[in-house]
């Protein structure tokens, strides 16, 4: 079975993964502390554009990846809108009480969830696991023990997907009724886990048999350094944040500058 998705590797793939991680985590916290909805909307839009054109994935894949985050956006925004507090009532029906304040707060929270989701997507879509863990070992001194364990686990995922498919067929063949979330989970989880645990233990033994010690001196097949794309990366995100802030403050969509 083929789980590969055709993609074009953009320059974001070439940036140092550790640096990218740090920059995006910093942005993550920055987004938490933006209280001006105008700025936040701009940030979200900018990240959305980057998500669409900077990750190199085809449009249909992007659509399906984005869909759950869009649903999170709608659900957080709407629940905040309908059950929030405020003085300027727009609409009231039973428990539902929409006020101007709660409406804008809802929009704000929704965009915040969206921006955080997009940051995560951009990072995970443009970072290959092998360079990421090599970089974490080289730049952030992650212990090889953890790095290679993660990489081994990543290798197990496609194997598990194939097994999942096979179990599905096997259960159909036996005439197992395809209902009941709990019994279904048990039917899939037990064979999948028993295989994976055994396989993981064997891989661990095989790794040690290849003189892997988990710590100590080692050389690296890939040396992950820094280059011009790292400057681009920092510049891009700095410009993005500055522009979002500038436009948001000077050309606001709405007159509220702080939703608190």
């Amino acid at each position: 079975m083929n789980w590969d998705i055709q993609r074009r590797e953009t320059w974001l793939y070439e940036a140092n993964p550790s640096l990218k991680l740090i920059v995006l985590v910093m942005l993550f916290f920055a987004v938490l502390f933006i209280h001006n909805p105008n700025v936040l909307i701009n940030v979200s839009l900018a990240l959305f554009v980057l998500f669409c054109f900077g990750t190199g994935y085809p449009a249909n894949v992007l659509f399906w990846l984005f869909l759950p985050f869009f649903l999170v956006f709608v659900s957080t925004a709407s629940s905040m809108m309908m059950f929030g507090e405020g003085t300027t009532t727009w609409f009231r029906w039973g428990l539902i009480h929409v006020t101007a304040e709660s409406f804008w707060r809802g929009v704000h929270i929704g965009f915040r969830a969206l921006a955080l989701g997009l940051l995560g997507l951009i990072f995970s879509l443009t970072t290959r696991p092998v360079p990421l863990f090599y970089s974490l070992m080289q730049q952030l001194r992650l212990k090889p023990k953890y790095a290679y364990s993660f990489l081994a686990a990543v290798r197990l995922l496609p194997i598990m997907l194939e097994e999942f498919q096979a179990i599905r067929y096997a259960l159909t063949v036996r005439g197992v009724p395809n209902k009941g979330v709990l019994s279904k989970m048990k039917r899939y989880a037990i064979p999948l886990l028993s295989q994976s645990i055994r396989r993981a233990q064997r891989i661990a033994v095989a790794m040690e048999a290849k003189q892997f010690s988990g710590s100590g001196r080692r050389t690296f097949y890939y040396e992950i350094g820094f280059g011009k794309y790292d400057i681009w990366l920092v510049a891009l995100f700095a410009a993005l944040m500055f522009a979002a802030y500038y436009v948001g403050v000077h050309y606001p969509y709405i007159s509220i500058s702080d939703v608190r």
């Binding site: 092998v130 259960l171 005439g175 009724p177 396989r199």
Partner: protein, 484 residues
């Protein structure tokens, strides 16, 4: 000669088991020797191999004691499961992992990786996704990454148990080439390709004691009965089987299945095409073809696990009106564990019958009969996962055919089985065929095709390209005479 490995009075016990696995076992192996460890499954050969390498107790903690233990300093170990010895996604990265562990300078790595791939005869680009390799190629890659450690001693723990014939051959050819000048210690059940390579055989008994130890040819001929009784695949095993095989009776019955311009789809793509084919009761059809040709897809299409179009008549009616299909066709997967749904062997057999609401008395009767037929009486209360490889396979077949289906689809059912289990399984299938079932079986094993199949379907590039009666079988069958 210098000793590569020496063990004096080894005692070892697995936690939770009663009794020692080894009681005062002593063994020494000289440098450059090629040794084959033989014995029944569960006798501790693999454990001993792990003790010699130091995996026990360094990586796997098992209580053990020995008066003297000399282990090699530089060694490499190839394991049985091709999917459970790599930690990196790409071939070059996997070999590099071993080089990194030895602190080989980075600039030397690409050259060495290419040389190692060359050495094991893998003609692939170094940066190839391991997931796309066949089992035989994966095992040779494992060998390459082990050779990156520059070992003096090679430990091979059933490296071809999960490979087809072609992969098995390629792996042993490679081992013969790269093993020159090294000490090689092998545990293996399929010894046809190994016998002319090893110079010494150590034969273990069921209790973990050494029965015989000496020059390979001598041990093999002196202890052939013991070796045969343990289900080991030795050269000439099929000839011996033929001598004991009983008569086969002909049974060509009514048409069970008819296909006409039949296609099976994965996603939007047609992955298998059958122009025309029929299957009659009493036929044994071997589906053969290269890896990835579409043999399993054909079975999936017949079982309606994937979308199909074209004509498909089953037992005289259109397939769409034969729902649910598992009442008419039994399907056996390559890995028996995937199919298990119950918590004991008994319940596993009863599952399909209970689902159909058959009366309890009938269920009891059927189960008792199947337990006996498939030699699982003693295991009836065990959890299916606790069974041996052979027992699991037998149970998966028994549980699939329990509903009295006329048509059996089997995807490499003899894969990874020892000779004894293979013969037992084939005999069971044969008895069902004689009673009027039809068997469609994917297999790589020409020996089985030659002896059991009445017809062969050849699948190539996603299409059934040849449907041939096996001439060697036909006259014998027509007379109902003796086999051979």
């Amino acid at each position: 000669m210098k000793q590569a490995i020496a063990i004096d009075r080894l005692r070892l016990k697995f936690p939770g088991s009663d009794g020692l696995l080894f009681r005062d076992l002593s063994l020494s192996i000289a440098e450059g020797e090629k040794v084959l460890l033989l014995g029944p499954s569960g006798c501790g050969k693999s454990t001993l191999l792990q003790v010699m390498a130091g995996i026990i107790p360094h990586s796997i903690d098992v209580p053990m004691k020995a008066e003297r233990l000399k282990r090699p300093e530089r060694w490499g170990y190839v394991f049985q499961d091709p999917d459970a010895q790599f930690c990196m996604p790409y071939a070059d990265e996997e070999i590099a992992f071993a080089l990194e562990n030895r602190s080989v300078p980075r600039h030397e790595m690409p050259v060495r990786i290419r040389a190692l791939l060359n050495q094991v005869g893998l003609e692939i680009a170094p940066h190839t996704d391991i997931h796309t390799l066949s089992g035989g190629m994966k095992q040779r890659l494992a060998l390459a990454s082990v050779l990156a450690l520059e070992p003096d001693v090679l430990f091979l723990d059933e490296p071809t148990a999960l490979l087809d014939e072609e992969g098995t051959k390629a792996v042993w050819q490679t081992v013969k080439k790269v093993g020159r000048g090294k000490t090689v210690i092998i545990v293996e059940h399929k010894i046809d390709h190994v016998l002319d390579f090893v110079d010494r055989i150590v034969l273990f008994g069921r209790d973990g004691r050494i029965i015989a130890d000496g020059e390979a040819k001598a041990v093999f001929s002196d202890y052939k009965d013991v070796i045969a009784a343990e289900g080991i695949w030795y050269p000439g095993v099929w000839d011996d089987y033929d001598r004991t095989a009983r008569q086969r009776t002909r049974h060509q019955g009514e048409e069970l299945l008819r296909l006409d311009r039949f296609r099976g789809f994965r996603g939007r793509e047609a992955k298998i095409y059958v122009p025309k084919a029929t299957v009659h009761a009493g036929e044994w059809i071997a589906v053969t073809g290269k890896n990835g040709a579409g043999k399993s897809t054909l079975l999936h299409a017949l079982m309606q696990l994937i979308r199909t179009d074209g004509e498909y008549m089953l037992l005289g009616a259109d397939i769409k009106r034969q729902h649910p299909i598992y009442r008419h066709i039994a399907f056996v997967f390559q890995n028996p564990e995937w199919q298990f749904v119950a918590h004991s062997v008994r319940e596993e057999l009863a599952y399909s019958l209970r689902l159909e609401g058959r009366p309890e008395a009938e269920i009891e009767e059927t189960i008792t009969r199947l337990l006996r037929e498939f030699d699982l009486v003693e295991q009836q209360d065990q959890h299916p996962y606790q069974l041996s490889v052979g027992q699991k396979r037998r149970l998966s077949v028994a549980a699939s055919i329990v509903a009295g289906q006329r048509l059996f689809l089997l995807d490499e059912p003899t894969f990874g089985q020892d000779a004894k289990n293979t013969f037992a399984l084939l005999a069971m299938l044969e008895s069902y065929r004689e009673q009027g079932a039809a068997i469609i079986m994917v297999t790589h094993d020409e020996q089985i095709v030659r002896r059991f199949a009445t017809r062969r379907w050849v699948v190539e590039d996603g299409a059934l390209v040849r449907d041939e009666r096996l001439a060697a079988v036909e006259p014998v069958l027509a007379e109902g005479g003796t086999w051979r």
